[in-house]
């Protein structure tokens, strides 16, 4: 590889990285969805509609499995599972209506509803993922809470034996506070996204939904940070117990 070739490859890599750096914030901000252009012929439109519905039904199955496999419930699982079931029924009915349609204009309007009235990818998928993440945070929170209680019992035991447990107790107190915060953040994420409804083509609702989902993700990240700090506190308290000395 000559120097010139290397230079060109390097330049291409830099340009690519710069393009990604520019594109990433735009994607992270949640660009508005663009619904696919409908086919001109009615037969093509029907075929495309059937394909789009089947694709979304498969996605709904995946989301339902994910929800059922969460192992715990942050409080919104039943609600969201019901929404996914209703989406399934609604999409099947809409597909049947489109397949029986003879009026091109009506078929076109119904075709658009597959996207705007359900938002399986832009709303229901991130919503379910956030609710499942809340479930997982809740489960980890419960495990850490049980561990905290166990450590507290040992701290109390050591204290009764005359050891200075102030450092371990301080770590445990912080752990308790972080676990409370984690529960709060996760709960906010789940409850704020669970009832977001498809925009049905209303751009303001769409923007509001995307903002709500972004806020939910932020809450989940905060909860995750709290859990990690709580875990660190647990480690500190256990290590303090190992290094106790008489007060």
């Amino acid at each position: 590889m000559t120097f010139t070739t290397r230079f060109r490859v390097g330049a291409a890599v830099l340009v690519g990285a710069a393009a990604l750096a520019v594109a990433a914030p735009a994607l992270a901000a949640g660009t508005s969805p663009t619904d696919p252009p409908p086919p001109a012929r009615l037969a093509d439109l029907k075929a495309r509609a059937d394909e789009a519905v089947k694709d979304r039904l498969a996605q709904l199955d995946k989301l339902t499995d994910r929800l059922n496999g969460a192992g715990t419930d942050c409080g919104q699982n039943t609600d969201v599972a019901g929404q996914l079931a209703n989406d399934r029924t609604g999409l099947q009915q809409l597909d049947a209506t489109i397949q029986a349609e003879t009026d091109g204009k009506k078929a076109l309007a119904e075709y658009r509803q597959i996207f705007t009235d359900f938002r399986i990818y832009w709303l229901q998928t991130p919503k379910t993922n956030e609710v499942v993440a809340c479930d997982r945070e809740s489960k980890a929170d419960a495990t850490l809470t049980a561990l905290r209680q166990k450590i507290q019992a040992r701290v109390d035991e050591a204290k009764a034996k005359g050891y200075d447990v102030s450092a371990a107790q301080g770590a445990l107190d912080d752990m308790a506070a972080k676990l409370t915060d984690a529960t709060s953040h996760a709960g906010q994420a789940s409850s704020s996204v669970a009832d977001l409804q498809p925009d049905k083509g209303d751009q303001s609702v769409l923007a509001s939904n995307l903002a709500g989902l972004a806020k939910g993700r932020q809450d989940l990240r905060s909860g995750w940070s709290d859990l990690q700090t709580a875990r660190h506190d647990a480690r500190t308290a256990i290590d303090d117990l190992k290094n106790l000395h008489k007060s």
């Binding site: 993440a133 489960k139 995750w224 660190h232």
Partner: protein, 108 residues
Amino acid sequence: MDASSALFNYRALRPLGAAAAAAVLLTGAACNGPLARRAANRHAPATALTTIVPAGAAPTAAQSGAPSATPPVRTDDLDAGLQQTDTQLSQTGGAIGEADQNPQQNSD
């Protein structure tokens, strides 16, 4: 053998001797790596211990070189509990990573 033929033989053999010397040197260099490694291994501990510490984890007493006296209360089950927590946290991190992705880029 007169002096001139001895000189001739010396001149004729000199390149061969140089080649042989080079071969000996090369062989020595090639063998030195493995031999040196073998010698180093003899001085190395029998087993290499690798400790994986989760990010943000505080050093344990053993890692920080603190005295390993028996703690006044039992802690081994607490360590086990922490390991169980790590498994859960790993799953939680995966779920959050999934939720943290943007809505799919295909239109909907």
